[in-house]
Symmetry: C2
Subunit: 260 residues, 2 copies
């Protein structure tokens, strides 16, 4: 972070630039630094780390230095990962000091985080060695009240601003929707998989089509090292993550198998 300067905080999300969760996160973050938002023009849930390859991107300025504070706000015609890449390369005055994503309207817990556009932003931040944090709240409605998210957002931003948050990992934070939040647990992503994933329908012309649906079936629902266990018990969860999916511990065994 440059000395004597307010931190420059980049924010994006996957619900699109008009989402309430994005606005809520920006309102808290602007108390800690200058804000630069580049969020998707349209809803981009489930977009993972997808990039737009075959068509070019557009960026549209929504607001600049609004409300007397320092907040620049674009929307971008692509995925969440497109938004941060384009912002860092072409739109921002300098590389940001902190990357935030969300607040997502709905959980990104367990190994389902692989599909998360919210985390797609965060992994891009981690490639830049910047403290990068995604926030997701267990209320899927568009008019969700994000008040329960405020304490953990402040705690994470304050750690980042103070330079205390390790940047060799990035952070997937989920906040439970419940009567009372019991605390915060650092955990691994729950293991499981989606089942009964598609609903078949027949269109008016007699042709089949398929809607994505389904439910998440955890492999070990009673494993108290996993995020889902704690979310269901009213705890905020933080999963430290790496973009690199190498299974390092498997390398030597596979090498023996391949070269024998």
């Amino acid at each position: 972070m440059e000395e004597n300067k307010r931190p420059l905080i980049f924010i994006s999300n996957d619900d699109g630039y008009q989402a309430g969760g994005l606005k809520y996160l920006a309102e808290i973050a602007r108390q800690y630094g200058d804000i630069f938002i580049a969020a998707p023009s349209t809803h981009q849930s489930g977009k993972s780390s997808a990039l737009t390859v075959e068509i070019p991107l557009r960026a549209k300025l929504v607001a600049n230095d609004c409300e007397g504070g320092h907040m620049t706000f674009y929307h971008v015609s692509g995925t969440p990962a497109d938004c941060i890449k384009l912002a860092v390369n072409k739109l921002m005055p300098r590389t940001p000091d902190i990357v935030l994503s969300g607040i997502n309207h709905g959980y990104n817990s367990g190994n389902s985080a692989i599909y998360s556009g919210t985390m797609g932003v965060v992994f891009e931040g981690s490639f830049l060695n910047i403290p990068s944090i995604g926030f997701s709240y267990g209320d899927y409605t568009s008019n969700a009240d994000f008040t329960p998210c405020e304490p953990i957002i402040r705690q994470m931003i304050e750690l980042a601003v103070a330079g205390k948050l390790p940047t060799d990992v990035c952070y997937n934070v989920n906040i439970p929707k419940c009567e009372h939040i019991n605390g915060t647990k650092v955990a691994s992503a729950a293991t499981g998989r989606w089942v009964e994933e598609y609903e078949s329908r027949i269109d008016p012309h007699g042709e089949a089509y398929y809607w994505l649906t389904g439910k998440y079936a955890p492999t070990d629902p009673d494993d108290d090292t996993q995020d889902l266990y704690w979310l269901q018990r009213g705890y905020v969860t933080i999963v430290p993550c790496r973009a690199d999916q190498t299974a390092h511990s498997a390398i030597s065994n596979i090498a023996k198998l391949i070269n024998q």
Copy 2:
């Protein structure tokens, strides 16, 4: 694998159902089992593990029991991850015994694999605990000659058919385009990041637009534990991967930081 039955091998890719790499992979794989292909209707490079959420999917039968062998061939109006999910849930007679993806027209090496639609298929296979392998070849042309890929494809399929390939990880295999292949190395994904990523242009109406471009800058180009090092020296590389991005070794340190 069910006894006395030919293995059922699922194949998809991200270059689309008409790609030469897909056809080449299927022609080898059908010598080992019955083939079920569900590949994207259109080009889906860079789609990572993205899912189609807001519109339904269509599946179109291209061929069934073609050429006297057992090969069923669909194309699906979505991403690579959509293809395997829809196939396993709605199109296939049973869960496949092996999942293959590719052959991709171009490398998916280093931590760029996070963007790979080829690997999006493979990670879905790994959620099902099925041996799952992605193949990528360093020739980006549509009429590439995939002959150099044949030995490693056979070796990996034969290990999978024999039940020898561990299924707690999945496999990202890259084949170099070069005069002579020197061997095979099991490695970790190269660390690095993309730089100079967008080219700005002005449209006929005076508005800016941005094309994704750029180049990959490895952090440690001389690190011989990384795939890129060996690809550049004429070796096939295999990176064992996990879908779960939890940084397990970081959990206890972050927990101390958060709860102090």
